[in-house]
Every structure is written in structure tokens, then in C-alpha cells.
Subunit: 316 residues, 4 copies
């Protein structure tokens, strides 16, 4: 209607330079959009629910910035959310300081507590007698160096030097050099991203009751359709101790017959199945499955049954 | 075209008076039809396949007249056959003789070998020193008394006196007074008998290969849909030792959603599923199943999935 | 005590020349023993139970001489019986006649009804207008030719000419040239035949109740130990319609750890498990299983658990 | 040797007043012992491994102080650790200030970032325009009020007033009033706590490979023994993306036959099963199981099998 629509907004755990910001940089549609920095996952979800943002980038697995369980619980309880994409960000850290500072000058390190814990081995070895000042975020720790002299150095993501004029004293200081955080882009879009052959489907499933063997029954829904899980995690439902829901990632897209059929089985079994979305895998690895579960086997079976129901002679 | 169509023909293991004949008497449509007595199950099947008869009554379980394995194998290998009804006949025997004969006169007993074996306990006790002349059928044994004096008595079904003028020397002489044979009416009709709520579905399934656990995988197709089996039997496929097919009776009708869905799963799993028919149970006992597997749960799940695929918002 | 013990007795469905007799000829221990010909499986079982015979040869699968279901039921209900060996006999037939008779002379054929059915295709083609006189056994049919002229030819096992002076008019007249009957040697011996690596274990198992999924639960006992089944058959228990027991042959010997462990699981699951024996397979084919289920994996696991229970440090 | 042994040491995430400290207060043996305050879970584990402490109290589920995934990963990778007890601590917060401060005076709140997130709803409503200064721990936030005037109030555990002379401005300020954190006491003791009938067993299991259905196979080990799981969580093994181990809590003690047998099955199935311990449940709720899986059923089955292997006659 208007000549120029306002650009869409994306929410992320900011400020610019966080790992979440790195994840959002991988989204082509976010280029040229408004990026809204928020301070925790709850705010990001709220932005999507209220329509303030079209999408929110959220850490969902192995995060060093927290929020993973919170993300799963929000997806389980906030209706109308969908995962539309998955992104991987290597999690690494640098030690930064004001220009002119050397590592020998460092007596106090500013760091978000979780990042501090992730770099503990390096810090204890390189700076045996340092003190720690906690910061509200990885980026705030570094930015603070420019406004206060309480610390001489800060732990920050490698991209920090794009945002702040700081010197790198040491690189790759994380204890696990291969750490990766998995992020998902969450929106209210109900349209499904097209099937690419390298897709994931995320669901949350409650068991009907806590009778022994219920989880097994649930998994048989996947096994009898040849659907593989890449993640399963129990999360307390929260209404009383001992009731769990399961956060599950399946290989494949709901447009794959075997995935759709497994979802039907789950829906019949469970009092509550939440479909969180089918979306391309970050690693673009094609889904593998045995030929017995290919789409045409499903359509053949339906044709066969349709013939029986219609009273047609069997095809040789 | 013609004013009066010829009445349909039904084949049965005869002659009149056999247990198979008793079973055929339970079929309302067979009243007024032509009853064709044949001498074995193969002939009866052939009559149906060639169209000579519209139906054949065949013993399928626990028969004292043989033919059970043969029946299963014929159903597995002759294409185009369908079971359209199930009938139970109590299997009992009487000892008959020409009028005027007393039990003390009996020195030789004529009997079909299988019937003879079923009455062995009685015969050994009542006639410790009798001889046995084998007969081609239970009815032939009795009928022979009227044309030959080789035997003084015969083992026959209780209805024999409706067909032959003989005296009953002893009743209920079978070793197991509760023995029942299950018969099925086989036809080439592809139309399905209507669902009554007390139905059975018969199938034959081959396993994809002889890897351990294959049978378990097959049964999971039933378990995940809450479908109960009332019969399962392994039968050698016959092409080589150790390859088996399974003859299975399921509770329910292919018009029950859970049965239809289980058949879809089986068809995808197995290289060869033969649908033998859905038909009312002889005992008219309604099929029991937990509410989780009722038809509306299946249609609800399909509606839910359809909503996801169509991008509709979830219904609260 | 005595200098020369009386030779042991073996019972078989006779007379000499039957397929059961052929099976007994495969038993080395039966050489030089007394062979007792009986007229049905029940008699043979009774001989073993009473101690009259040390063993009975019984058809258990695919018999043309009947008795298979009867055998399974007897094993399920007669306590103290054990299967100690398995034997395969090719089931084939010849058409025999008195010397001097040609096939053109044959107008009436004497045959046991089941054998007659098995050769029907040949008889209908070679002797389109023949009559059939039923005989009490395959051997009696042939022997009768020498004492009566009611029939010109008889259907008999190939070995018949070792026992009776008859001429063979046609060989391999059975409809299925590869038919084989499986026999078992039954005794009261409680000692187990040694493990050969090519063994079978036969059991009969009742389900705890008829809840859906019970059979699946039973089969999981095998699947979780990598034990393969070569036969499973449901048999009505007989006390009321719809209650079944399962006759099962497992690959392996009860001295195999995985078989023993599966039996433990079954015994805990089922109200009634009958152990019928572990014995060498007739086909001498070594049992195949994945290394995960070899004996040493079982003993390693037990050692590991024992260490935990004893408070020992884990072995690296 | 010495007259008075030095009291044992317990490590906990300190300082005094943290939720972990509350958990340690529940351990009778820790009374009178030396309590060593450490700054993260890694340090606590290290204390146990090196023998510096006899036990470490560690948050394992639902923590607001972090460390849960780290705990699971440490238990999976540090050999020789055992869980010997489980403790529940209600997670709640108070808003504290220097005496004389009123809530209207509060402009800046000091709080550990995770605790801050947990109280966000209260803080946004009661103090709409407050600022946040992150602290290194919940206790440090409160203690800092006494040494610096940067903040007027702090978020702290309810027990804080036992340690610091502060005034409570608001109670129960956590968003979830029923939040509970589960802690475990970890030691190197290999002796097992006695079975109480209300026990848990914790294990970590790797799947043999990522073939579909492997998790199902694993769970069948529990289902076939009637063992219930109260927790299952997948954790990346860390060597490459997509390889998972499972952290599992079972109902019951390794001295329960069904648990021991399930562990045997798991050990045979999995390349790596870590036994983390059997210990009393914090909630003291007795383990429920169906009679079919009671200890005597297991011993009966073993007696039965032993009889078979020994060649003894079956007991009626």
C-alpha cells in the first residue's frame, strides 16, 4: 500500500558482536533489516509474539551465553512460534585490551561469568594471579575497557575488534577450540520453508502418563517409519516434579512422507505434540534413510490400500 | 438376460453331513443355492478361481478333517481369493451302526483316520479289541455300513442320521468334548463385507529377509496402532528351507482407521502382504480397543497435520 | 547288574518303511535297538512317558502323515518330555504294483488319504479315470496289494521295495519334489545334548494375558539378546477359545549365554514356559549371530557388574 | 595413627549462603566437616579427584546457578566419580539492601546475571527504571552492598541474612515460586549406599553407532525389565558433531535384580556405560514396579534355568 514498506526487524541477544549477532549475520533476509538488540531470550521471544520483530535469533544448544533451557521451555509454552532456520557459530574468545597494554600489565580481567568459566584454563596459566570483574555480556566486558579503568583486559568474541577500537592480546583462549553453538531463527510465520533434502524437524512431545515404557512407545513411532532423531532431551513440564516433555529434532522435513506419518502417530499417542518447524540443516548434510522409507513406498502403500477399499483387483 | 438366473454354486468338502457341510448351513446366502460336494480343499479353491462356484467353505483352524495348512498355503499362493465370512462348528462324533446292531456286536469300526484318532480314548475303552477300517471321509465311513458288511459300526458326525438311516450306538465319543473347527467362506468377491464392530481381518505377510528382529519389527506395526492379533502362524514359503510367511488374523475391519493404518505400515515393511479379507467374526464378540486408537483420534491427527502443511494456526 | 542289558526300545509311526521309519534310521543309537511300530503320535508319546521306550520319533513340521499339531500339543501338555534330536526326511512317493502290472492296467489306486492328496496332480494326469481306495498308512497301502486285488497300484514311500516285493511303476510322483518333513526324537532324558555350534532350542510359551502387545513384549526378550527364531506358531491352549500358546524354535543352545539369558527373561515374563530341549540341527548349519551377543560379551558384562557390586574400581 | 583424624572436607559452590551451600547443609556427614568454598563445578570435581575433598555438592538439574551441563559432562569424562546422594533445594530470592534503605531509594540492583533473569518480572514491575550491575555470584551481589555504594539493592538467596547484616526489601521475588534445583553429592567412594526402596541409579550410556533405532534398542533394555527412567538427556560426546551420549536416571538400586539385569543388558549393548551410582532419592518416594519384576521373580527364573542346565526334573 505504502510506497516503501518499513524494513523488517530481527531481535537478537546483543549488543553487536555477540555470538548471536554472528548467527544473525548468516541470515540473508536479515541483510538491510533493522536489528534489535535485546538482553535475554525472553525479550526476543516477546518481540516475535507481539509482532515487533519478524524473527528472533536464539541459542538452542551448547551455548556459552546461556538461554538454552529457557529457549526450549519458551518454545514449549509460547504458542504460535516456529523455527525457520538453524545456524552454527564457532564459539571462541580473544583477550582484548586498550592499545598499549601488554599482557604483563593485566591484573584484572572483565568477563561475562560463563565466558570466564570457558577460558579458565588459559587465564589461570597466562595470568596466575589475576582478578575477575563480572560483566553483563561478552561485548559489554570489552566495551567497558574504553570507559573505565577497573580492568586492564576483557574476554570477548573474536569479532569484537569490528566494533571497538581494542588490541588483541591473545587469540583462541577458549578451553575447547572446537566449541560450536547452535542457534535457531524463530518467527511466527506458519508457512513452511521448502524441503531441501537436508532438513530438520523440531517437535516437543508430552508423554500420556508416566507408566514405564511410554518413552519406548513414543520412539517406536519413529522407528516404525525409519525416522532418525538427532536430538532428544527431557525437560520438566514444571507443573509438578517428575513430569517431562521431550524436545526432539528429527532428520527430515514434514513434507517427507515418513516424517509426516511419524507425526501422525505421535499426535495420536501424545496428549500434546508441538510442531516447532521444518527447516534446512545448518550443516547442509543430506538426510540419509533406507529406501524402504522413501516417499514412493508410502504412496505405493496408499495406492494399494485404496485399491482394497475400492474393491479393485490387486495389481501383479 | 434370462428370466431366472441359475442359482449360485457353493463348494464344500462333502458329502452332505460333514462338518464343512454344517458350516455351509450357517450361510444365509447358501440357502437355495447349488451345493457342490468336492473331495479336498484344492478342488474347492479351484472351483472358486475358475468361477464354477461363487464360494467355497474351507476349514482353516483346528480341523479334524485336515486341510488347514493346505488352506493357508492356498490363500497365500492363489491370487484373487478373499475370505468373506467365518463360521464355527462344534466337532463331535457319534458311533453309528445298522439298526439292530448292539455295541457288543461291534468287532470292526470304519472311520476316517483323523476322526479315528480323535475318538481313540472312547474306542479303546468301549471296544478294547476292535479293528479299524479306514474310510475316505467321516460320511463315507457311515454310508459304507449300508453297502458292505466289512464293519459293524462307523465314526460319524452327529448329523449323519439326517442323511442315512442308521442307529446311534454312542454319542459324544470325541476325546475333547469342546473341540471346535473354524471355517472360512472363500470367494473371489473384491467388495468388502460391511464393518459390524465385531470383525476380523486376515492377512499373509512375508518378512523382508531373515535378519533377527524382523518379526518384532512387523509386530510393532500392530502395536503402534493398538491392533490386536487373534492368530499368528508361521508357514514355510516353500522355495527354500527357513523362509517363512506369517498367517495373521487381526481384530477389526480394514474400515477401522487403526487397521487400515497398520496395513499401510505392513505394506511398506514387507515385500509381500496379501489381504485376505475383512469379515464378521463368527463369535460376534465386539472388538475391544483403547480409546487412544479410535477412528476419531486418527481423523483428528490428520486434521492437525493438514493444518500444519497448509500453514494454518494451531487450534487451541 | 545283568551281564547283558536288554536293548533299548524306540517307538515310531510304523510299519517299517514309513517316513518316520526313515527318520529313525538316521539315529545312530537306534541301531541294534528294538524298534516298536505304533499307529499314531499319541501312542508313541505314551511309550516314552511310561518308560516302555527310551525315545519316540515324531513328525513335527510339514508332515504328509499328519500328527504335527498333535505333536506340538502333546509336548505342551505331557510333562517331562524332551526333544533330543532333529531329523529331516525328503518326502517323496512312488507308484508301486504287483510284478507284471503295467500302468495301463491300473484302474484303482490304494493310498493313505493325505499321501493321495499330495500326489493328486500326477494321478489325475497319468490315470485320469482311476478310483481311490483309502488305506490306513502309506505302507499298508502297498502291502495290501499282496493280499488283496481291490487295487492294482498303491502310493508308497520310495523305500517300500526294501520291505515288500513290489514293482515301481512311477517315481517322484509327489506334487512338490522338494517336500521335506521335519522329525524330532523325543525322550524323557533330562541331560542336555552337548552344544555343537549348530543347535536349536525348542520352547513353548504362554502369554500372561491377551492384552495387545503381549506377543511383541515376548519377542523383545529375544531381540534384546540377539536370538533368532526359526519357527513360531500359535496354538490354541484349548481351555477356551482365543487363548494361545506359542511353539518356538530358537537358534542356539541353552548353553549359549544369549539363549540362556533370553530364557530367563521369558520365564519372568510368562506364566508358563516349557523347555523342550536344546539339540543339534538336522541341517548342521552353524548358528549365526552378531559379535555383540557372543558368550564373552555376556561374561564381560557380568564381571563389570560384579565389580560395581563389590566396590572395585572400574578397569580401564 | 593420630589420635584425632582431621575432619573430612566437602567442596561446594560458595560462598556460604548459596543454594549449593543450602544443599550441603542437608548432608548429615558434612556437619562438623570442613566446608571448602569453590568458584565453579570444575574446581569442585577436581577437589574430589585429587582427594582434597571427600565430597563435592554439585547442581545437576534445573539450576539457576549454571553448571548442569558441565556437571553431566564432568561425570561422563572424569573417571572414578560416584554420586552418593541427591538433595533438593527450593530456589527463591529476596531483594536485600543496607538497613535504612527503602524500595523507593533503589535505582541500581546488583545481581548475578542468571538470578537477575529469574527475577526479571518482579524487578520490571516493582522497579521499572532500575539499572543492573552484574555480580559474580548471588552472595557476592549482596555482600558488595556493604563495601560499595554502586548499588542500593541486591538479589540474593533467602538465607543471606544469616551471613550478612542486610535488610530484606521484598521476599519471593523469583518468577517461578516453585522452582527447585536438584543437587548431587559426588565422591570417589566405590562402596554403594544401602538400598532403601526409594533409590535412584544414574548412568551415562553411549550408543554403539548412529544407526536409526539405536536409542529404541537401548530403551528396550529397560522396558524388558520393567525399569522406569526418571530422566533422560542427550549430551553431545564432543568429539564430533552429532555423536551423543545419554544421561539417564533409573528408578531403583543396582541391588534391585531388575536394575542389575538392565545394566547387564546395557553393558552388552553399549561400547561405554558409566555407572555413576545408586543412592537414596531426595523425595524419599518408594520406587513402584509391577510384581512381575520383583526380586523373587528373578531368583525363581534363575533357579528354573539352573535346574534345566543341571538336568533336574521340572518342579510342578
Amino acid at each position: 500500500m505504502s510506497e516503501t514498506a518499513a524494513p523488517p526487524t530481527y531481535s537478537y541477544l546483543g549488543p553487536a558482536g555477540t555470538f548471536t549477532w554472528e548467527a544473525l549475520r548468516q541470515v540473508p533476509d536479515a541483510e538491510g533489516a533493522t536489528w534489535r538488540s535485546v538482553s535475554n531470550a525472553g525479550e526476543a521471544f516477546a518481540d516475535v509474539v507481539t509482532g515487533r520483530s519478524v524473527g528472533a535469533m536464539i541459542a538452542i544448544e551448547n551455548s556459552v551465553e546461556g538461554g538454552v533451557s529457557a529457549t526450549q521451555d519458551a518454545l514449549a509454552t509460547v504458542p504460535g512460534l516456529r523455527i525457520v532456520g538453524e545456524y552454527l557459530v564457532p564459539v571462541n574468545f580473544v583477550l582484548v585490551a586498550r592499545h598499549g597494554t601488554t599482557i604483563e600489565d593485566v591484573r584484572t580481567v572483565s568477563a561475562h561469568p560463563v565466558a570466564y568459566a570457558q577460558c579458565r584454563r588459559f587465564l589461570e596459566s597466562a595470568l596466575p594471579s589475576h582478578g575477575h570483574i563480572p560483566a553483563a555480556s561478552n561485548v559489554a566486558a570489552a566495551a567497558g575497557l574504553l570507559t573505565s579503568e577497573l580492568a586492564e583486559a576483557a574476554v570477548a568474541p573474536p569479532s569484537i575488534t569490528e566494533h571497538h577500537d581494542l588490541a588483541v592480546l591473545a587469540e583462541s583462549i577458549g578451553d575447547n577450540p572446537n566449541a560450536v553453538t547452535r542457534f535457531v531463527l524463530v518467527s511466527r510465520t506458519l508457512g513452511l520453508p521448502p524441503k531441501t533434502g537436508a532438513d530438520k524437524t523440531s517437535i516437543i512431545v508430552e508423554l500420556p502418563d508416566d507408566a514405564p515404557g511410554r518413552l519406548l512407545e513414543m520412539l517406536e513411532q519413529f522407528a516404525t517409519r525409519g525416522v532418525n532423531m538427532s536430538l532428544i532431551e527431557s525437560r520438566p513440564i514444571g507443573d509438578e516434579l517428575g513430569r517431562y516433555r521431550f524436545v526432539i529434532d528429527l532428520d527430515g522435513h514434514v513434507h517427507d512422507e515418513r516424517v509426516a506419518d511419524a507425526l501422525l502417530g505421535l499426535r495420536r499417542f501424545s496428549p500434546n505434540v508441538m510442531f516447532l518447524g521444518s527447516y534446512p540443516r545448518a550443516d547442509k548434510r543430506p538426510v540419509e534413510f533406507v529406501p524402504q522409507y522413501s516417499d514412493d513406498v508410502f504412496t505405493d502403500a496408499r495406492d494399494w490400500l485404496r485399491g482394497i477399499l475400492a474393491g479393485e483387483p490387486p495389481v501383479a
